[in-house]
């Protein structure tokens, strides 16, 4: 079953074309990552799917609904973690969960969710006393308390320290084991790689690559060959490293030279991603 289907999605803010024809599908139970630098159109895309914004063009179906007219039934089935939402500072963690549970027809058990997001020891603490990481866990708990089928996570770990990020990753992984469909946006490559079944790389409102994290990094990657000649560094990029290296070394051996500091290197995931998002348009 398809949870989300997006075809030719477009959205402009005045003269700024934020999303310029985006297509993707997300299967039920899949964790899908939208990866890209700031301003690539990730949040705009997600907010259209959540029902916050109207699109200018394209076909969008989310859980069989058109999110442009989000009804109660649609709201019952989605959970949302916004990038910068706060909650009532004076309520406790448990009270906040209970308030949100009350909005849904069939909520999960409040204490169970508090436990699930790792806030059991903070259940009676006021929201304003929580750390940044704990607040994001509260956001996640509140998004899960309605027992949604589909969870939107907009940059769930931005601003986290490494330990908090790992904890958040564990929690997002646990969503998969609950059978939830997850749409995650991030500008961290390692996060997409760690969490997502499939990733779409977004740049300037377009998808420039889509696939599993492995597919993204094993495509048409060129290998870098570096060496020094007369103190000058030489860098070759090639898709045929065997042939190029053979020619290079044959020449050098024939001349009786040593290729100083010879190095053959596959680009890392980071290199591929940076190359994708930094290519000049057209």
């Amino acid at each position: 079953m398809t949870a989300i289907s997006v075809r030719g999605l477009r959205k402009s803010y005045g003269a700024l074309e934020a999303v310029r024809g985006v297509d993707f599908e997300i299967e039920e139970g899949e964790v899908f990552g939208l990866l890209g630098p700031n301003g690539a159109g990730k949040t705009t895309t997600v907010e259209i799917l959540e029902g916050y914004r109207k699109r200018d063009g394209g076909e969008v179906t989310v859980l069989g609904h058109n999110p442009e007219h989000p009804g109660r039934d649609f709201r019952e089935r989605i959970g949302v973690v916004l990038q910068q939402a706060q909650l009532w500072p004076t309520l406790t963690v448990r009270e906040t969960h209970a308030v949100f549970a009350g909005y849904y027809a069939k909520p999960r058990d409040v204490d169970e969710v508090v436990e699930l997001v790792g806030l059991a020891d903070k259940r009676d603490a006021r929201v304003k006393t929580l750390s940044g990481g704990q607040k994001r866990r509260l956001d996640l708990g509140v998004a899960l308390v309605g027992d949604p089928d589909l969870v939107f996570l907009d940059e769930p770990t931005t601003g986290f320290d490494p330990a908090a990020r790992r904890a958040a990753w564990e929690m997002i992984r646990s969503l998969r084991s609950l059978g939830k469909t997850v749409l995650l946006t991030t500008h961290y490559l390692d996060e997409a790689e760690q969490l997502a079944d499939r990733v779409a790389v977004l740049r300037e409102g377009r998808i420039v690559r889509i696939g599993t994290p492995r597919e993204l990094t094993t495509g048409d990657r060129e290998v870098e060959i570096r060496y020094r000649r007369n103190g000058e560094e030489i860098l070759l990029r090639t898709a045929e490293p065997t042939r190029v290296l053979h020619e290079l070394t044959t020449d050098a051996v024939a001349r009786g030279e040593e290729l100083e500091r010879l190095e053959v290197r596959r680009p890392t995931l980071e290199d591929v991603y940076l190359a994708l998002v930094q290519e000049d348009a057209e």
């Binding site: 916050y52 109660r72 916004l82 939402a85 009532w88 309520l91 909005y103």
Partner: protein
């Protein structure tokens, strides 16, 4: 209905839990009543000063709870994206607004009861002779000022600035319209400004119902002006109210 009651309970919990807001909007008019009541003596409008002050501060209480408090709350919740977050839940916006307004009405009704109890205890002021008319006054005041409060929240841009902007409106308005005491000795032009402000008509209504024991329905002008201001608030709210923070 279940959602309405759930949200009403939530609003009450949030209001009384956030002590700063509760003190600012709820306790402040009571405090002012005690202070002014201790300063003014003799008779105003032919009644003991404490009674006249009670009637006036009833109007001020409404402006604080329904107008100032509601506007600041809505601006903060909008800028903190609490409103945006709530919109992603199955809670219908109409239910949210209805429970927020009802919650405001409850707070103002409690404020009124507190004023009368305090007046009785400290200054020996009588309880109102026309309870039904006072109840109608509470509903009309809360609804009209809440409508203006929602409208104002749409005009205030930033959360940090909201309480400054709101006070800049409420304090002079209270001063000019007699909500802090009588204005008949003010210069003519100050009274002329006060004459167009909605709080003047709520204070008039309060004076008529409480001090002069007149029926609520005999005060057509005051009711009409208040409804007109309330309608203006609704119109502004319809165009300017936003659910999402003002960034980008």
């Amino acid at each position: 209905m279940r959602l309405f009651l759930h949200q009403l309970k939530t609003e009450q919990l949030v209001y009384w839990r956030s002590r700063e807001a509760a003190v600012f909007t709820f306790i402040f008019p009571l405090l002012l009543f005690v202070l002014l009541g201790s300063v003014y003596s003799g008779h105003i409008y032919g009644v003991p000063a404490s009674q006249a002050l009670l009637a006036a501060l009833l109007g001020y209480g409404c402006a604080m709870v329904a107008f100032a408090g509601l506007a600041i709350t809505l601006v903060l919740r909008r800028e903190q994206a609490i409103l945006k977050r709530l919109r992603a839940t199955p809670l219908p916006p109409v239910t949210y607004v209805a429970s927020l307004l009802t919650s405001t009405l409850i707070v103002f009704a409690l404020e009124t009861v507190a004023l009368f109890l305090l007046g009785r205890a400290v200054f020996g002021t009588p309880f109102p002779a026309r309870v039904g008319s006072v109840a109608l006054l509470i509903v009309l005041g809360a609804v009209c000022f809440a409508a203006m409060g929602v409208g104002l929240s749409g005009l205030v841009r930033s959360g940090e600035g909201s309480s400054a902007v709101v006070n800049l409106i409420v304090l002079p308005m209270a001063f000019l319209t007699g909500a802090f005491g009588p204005t008949h000795h003010y210069p003519r032009f100050l009274r002329a400004i006060g004459d167009v402000l909605p709080l003047k008509y709520l204070v008039d209504l309060s004076n008529a119902v409480y001090l002069h024991k007149l029926s609520f329905w005999s005060q057509g002008t005051a009711i009409g002006v208040l409804l007109a201001w309330g309608a203006a608030g609704v119109v502004v709210a319809a165009f300017k109210f936003r659910w999402e923070p003002r960034e980008a």
